[in-house]
Amino acid sequence: MTRYLIRRLLAAIPTLLGVSVVVFLFIHLIPGDPVRAMTRDNAPEEAVQKIRERLGLTRPLHEQYMIFMLGNDTAARLRYEVARLTGNPIPVPVVTQPFRGIARGDFGNSLVTGNAIVSELSTRLPATMELALAAVLFAILIGVPMGILAAIKRGTLVDTGSMLVALTGVSMPIYWLGLMGIMLFAVTLHWVPSGSRLGVDIALDRTTNFYLLDSIISGNWVALGDALRHLILPALVLGTVPMGVFARMTRSSMLEALNQDYVRTARAKGLRQSAVILRHTLKNALLPVVTVIGLETGYLFSGAVLTESIFGWPGLGRWLYQSIIYRDYTVIQGATLVIAVIFVFANLLVDFSYALIDPRIRYT
């Protein structure tokens, strides 16, 4: 098992490096001069040049990547060492504005607000993760039983109805569903708030920035109730598409498992239907469902851009979207990188859970 885990972890390294190259190159894909694209047309050339220098865009590409990854201090030190070893010594470099590089957890500062990206991430990432986890929980709790039921009742009205609901879920433009939800449940019925994470009059000690967790830790039940009321509608909206995907996948995977010989044997032994389904079929049908749950992580982050924009949810998706609008390239790079890394690790987790569910995989 350990060897399998190490092998999978090592295989993720080239992908992560590739991701860092793509994110780094993003700024260079912009047609023309990225700094000119960021500033107004009439910005003086000296100011534009200053920004270019601050972003390190005047240096050679490989050096820019090194700075991006390892920081300007390491890059300067390497330049100094290379010059010394090749017999053309240069003065000891002095780094006035140290940047530690993304490999050391420094994403730099926002070009628009000047805030450190890491500190912004520490509040925004928990917001998105709380929303995404709630959405996935809803999708699993509704989608998986719906798929099981449809498979058991194959060919009946229950099957057709569930699959129609699932396919409609998959075909749903979630931003539209969100808007209709706000109109019905917030504007007309006043059951839930229309946006944000917590009411302005609610006090909460924020230690983890997962508001549900924070309110439980501090025993603040008023805040817990309010955070839940704020969370429910965006989570349902974001979870609609995964719910449909899980239901369809569970059904097809259950149908395949139900046709296997071991299920017939279990039935022949005289086992109750519930034991056949829960102990023999479901466990074997779970593997493809787990894969899909992992793959949906990517969707959840894409969906978060739209859901967070509609519900004014102060998370990573909305921040990324705003940064795109304001052409805040360092934030775009930082946020995209974090999302891509989470996506790669979510797929690694899926691989590990495979190995836990199906021992055969560890030995292949």
């Binding site: 080239p14 992908t15 590739g18 991701v19 190259v21 793509v22 993003f26 894909l29 912009i30 047609p31 396919l167 409609t168 998959v170 075909s171 749903m172 433009p173 931003y175 539209w176 569903l177 808007l179 209709m180 706000i182 109109m183 504007v187 007309t188 369809r248 059904r251 097809s252 149908l255 990517g298 969707y299 982050f301 894409s302 969906g303 851009v305 739209l306 924009s309 509609i310 990324l320 979207y321 795109i324 609008i325 052409r327 775009i332 995209t336 999302i339 891509a340 996506f343 790669v344």
Partner: protein
């Protein structure tokens, strides 16, 4: 011996059914495929006929005296904030959405399938390098990657189509590669090699035609996701630009009037997106069941 002759003749005279006739027969018996086909046919008819039946110029359509009017006999879907007829705009937007769907899927299909088939068939270093690049592309969530590409190149319909096409390339490449790997082991490929067919000929005459059915299914399903993504880009203001009627952009316009209860500006474009995507998804599911019964769900 003579007695068996008619039986042999019978066997040869029996009309052989090809994959495609079989598929068509199965497709006709699938109720979900029929619903999907009807929805797609309806949408295609709307897109083709609407310029003739209901001509429309988005630049001269505003009528500020009838802003945000609820549905009535004159305006069955109501009017928007510039007094424009929502029905007319919703119907004309079907042309834009279909165009985005078809063009972006064509981009993905051409590049992705060619790359996947070639890599799968040839194998070796080309395959390893190309698939690593595809892995890296897959590490970015599709919509985010599309948003990033449009953000880099500037908002607009053409860039949106290009972005959606690019983000769909990995799915086609992976699919075509896996199909090509299984096809290259078949006897007819060995036979083609034995008679001295060149790699190019094997690829174009044997591997490609025999890999078509999963690629067709993927295309139908990805038109649905392309339309959804295009509408999402439009909603974020990165797709079609005003005054071009596009469902996502119409929703973004209507968003501002949510609190005053102007439900009609939001309801109809959304329903159109959902029905279109549902139609292509149902058709794709039906085609998958018809072309590859082993995948039947």
């Amino acid at each position: 011996m003579t007695a068996s002759t008619p039986a042999v003749a019978d066997v040869f005279s029996h009309k052989q059914s090809s994959l495609w006739t079989d598929a068509l027969r199965r497709l006709r018996h699938s109720s979900s495929a029929k619903v999907g086909m009807s929805l797609v046919a309806l949408l295609l008819s709307i897109a083709l006929l609407v310029p003739v039946v209901m001509p429309y110029d988005p630049r001269t359509d505003s009528d500020l005296s009838s802003r945000l009017k609820p549905p009535s006999r004159v305006h069955p879907f109501g009017t928007d904030d510039l007094g424009r007829d929502v029905l007319r705009r919703v119907l004309h937007a079907s042309r834009v959405s279909l165009r985005i769907g078809l063009i972006s899927v064509t981009i993905a299909l051409l590049f992705g399938s060619t790359l996947g088939l070639t890599c799968g068939f040839l194998g070796g270093a080309t395959d390893i390098i190309a698939m690593r690049i595809i892995d890296i592309m897959l590490a970015f969530p599709a919509t985010l990657l599309a948003i990033g590409i449009v953000a880099a190149r500037g908002p607009g319909l053409n860039n949106a189509m290009l972005a959606i096409g690019i983000v769909q390339i990995p799915a086609y490449a992976r699919l075509a590669r896996s199909v090509a790997i299984s096809v290259r082991e078949r006897e007819y490929i060995t036979a083609a090699q034995c008679v001295g067919a060149s790699k190019m000929r094997q690829l174009t005459r044997h591997v490609f035609p025999n890999s078509l059915s999963p690629i067709i299914v993927q295309s139908t399903l990805s038109i649905a996701s392309a339309i959804l993504e295009a509408a999402a880009l439009g909603f974020l203001g990165l797709g079609a630009q005003p005054p071009i009627p596009e469902w996502g952009a119409m929703l973004a316009d209507g968003y501002k009037f949510l609190t005053i209860g102007a439900w009609w500006v939001l309801l109809f474009p959304g329903v159109m997106i959902m029905l279109t995507v549902l139609g292509f998804n149902l058709l794709g599911d039906g085609l998958r069941d018809a072309l590859d019964p082993s995948l039947k769900t």
